[in-house]
Amino acid sequence: MRQLFTPFKTISSRSLYLALALCMTGLFACAGDNKRPYTTTTEDPALADTNLVLPKGFVATTFADAVGKTRHIAVADNGVVYVKLARLKDGKGIIRLQDANGDGRSDQSSGFGSFPGTGMIVRKGYLYASSDTEVFRYQLDANNNVIDPGKPEKIITGLIERGEHEAKAFTLDYAGNVYVNIGAYSNACQVQDRTKGSPGMKPCPILDSAGGIWQFKADKLNQTYGDGVRYATGLRNVVGLDWNTATNSLFVMQHGRDQLSSLFPDMFDNKQSAELPAECMYELHKGSNCGWPYIYYDQFQHRKILAPEFGGDGKKTAGEDAQDPVVAFPGHLAPNGLLFYSGNQFPERYKNGAFIAFHGSWNRAPEPQKGFLVAFVPFKNGKPSGDWEVFADNFSGSPEATASGRAKYRPCGLAQGPDGSLYVTDDTKGRIWKISYQK
């Protein structure tokens, strides 16, 4: 394997001690190449209420601030940025941003779109956006400006939304298809959701219309379930997903199930429940089944385990027909953004690798919360070529804020700019960072 680590001689002893101290507190994830030190970047001092912690050579600028509850983000090939809001701001659900003077910060902002939601992608002359039940697209002109902001084409409609896992995150391939997450409106498909003693339903009726990824055409209007294909099933909820151009396949990040110890205190203690199950990355193909709700993935046993609602005891394996994950992360970190890096700005080891925005946990309580970071997984030949690692950290503001879950910022959406910079959104206060490599 190539040398992945910065040679120690280039590290100041101070930052090394800091990294070690953070690791020892147990509050910072130190998986993967945990010997790699991190440096604190300097942002605009006026905005530096939390400094992101990044690998050596990377810097973050606050591209925009207080934009709204910014979810997914798209950057067009001329640098125009579109970001989707989970809640309307001044009646608008999509914000257009632009850094016209090239100082790394947006200096133009305008809004349109009357629906809140999560999904946002620019592809082949169109801006695509989703509400919690529909997907729309807006035609773009040669400068990537929306031609008629008041009249989007409705391409997908009538998707189930029952107040749980409602975000219709989506991505597109390069062959004219849209892949939409329809999250399960349930934790583990119990007769009574999240209720102790309520058994799992087998077969799980939710899977007919949710708990998977549906494929639709990008250019056909008013499609609904009958027009689409259930591309993959057995996925509880997916918010982060991306089409990997290196493999020409769909990758998704599943939000794993909650509440093992509160629903099954005789089988799981709070520490186990905080770590289990893994938050999983899957590579999907038509017909993929990832096993929810019948199984979950245990990253310590490296096995698919029968869910306790279906007769499991934390040890019995099951799901022989279900896929194994490509990468298994610690539990409950809430992956909300996934991006395969195809740019040339970052060092070579980042090429074709995966960035994951972890929104941060709540279901680890009473154990310390975790997440609020952007992770990276190096890929080679379409497979992970090393352990996952923390790429950008300290969105929460402090180890204490991470542990309590009272994070200042929570990473959500990811996008790659035309210059190879990485954009990260926060859906708490609406800050958008632009992360660049300056060697």
């Binding site: 989970a86 107040g163 749980e164 959701d193 999240r194 003693g197 309520s198 708490t428």
Partner: protein, 157 residues
């Protein structure tokens, strides 16, 4: 564990719907009544109820509402100085007994995670945990007694 019938589930859903509709027109009283902490009402005295209530909170509530009762943005509502916690005891006891589904609004923010029914808790446990929540996390409101929970449970279907 006993399995709830579909009827019970429907009833729960209808209750939650009715409750949601009701809450849009009739908000729980904003001002909490002055705390009444008479040892006659509260089994073993106020402190004993708070101590027992804390244990119930740790086991039943903390996983979602969090250690500081601040909840989880967009999912699990906070229990700090809200009308829901400090207001009408009947509403509060019924939420514990029947759970809650559908979006609710607390202090201008909306929350939509499912809260399971906790009718398996005893009258005393519900009284204790609600007394604990109403007198912690910056809250100050009257104690809830087991007798009150019993009476509300009898009228709650």
């Amino acid at each position: 564990m006993q399995v709830k019938s579909i009827g019970a589930v429907l009833t729960g859903g209808l209750f939650a719907l009715a409750f949601t509709l009701m809450s849009q027109t009739k908000k729980p009283a904003a001002k909490p009544a002055a705390a009444k902490m008479g040892p006659v009402q509260v089994k073993g005295g106020m402190q004993a109820s708070l101590d027992r209530g804390k244990q119930v909170y740790l086991q039943q509530c903390l996983a979602c509402h969090q250690a500081d009762a601040g909840g989880v943005s967009g999912m699990n509502p906070p229990l700090i100085k809200t009308k829901w916690v400090l207001g009408d005891k009947t509403t509060l006891v019924q939420i514990v007994l029947k759970g809650l589904t559908g979006e609710i609004e607390v202090d201008g923010d909306t929350y939509h995670n499912v809260m399971a029914p906790h009718s398996e808790l005893s009258d005393q446990e519900i009284a204790d945990v609600l007394t604990y929540v109403r007198n912690n996390f910056g809250n100050k409101a009257s104690a809830v007694t087991a007798a009150e929970v019993k009476a509300i449970r009898a009228k709650t279907h």
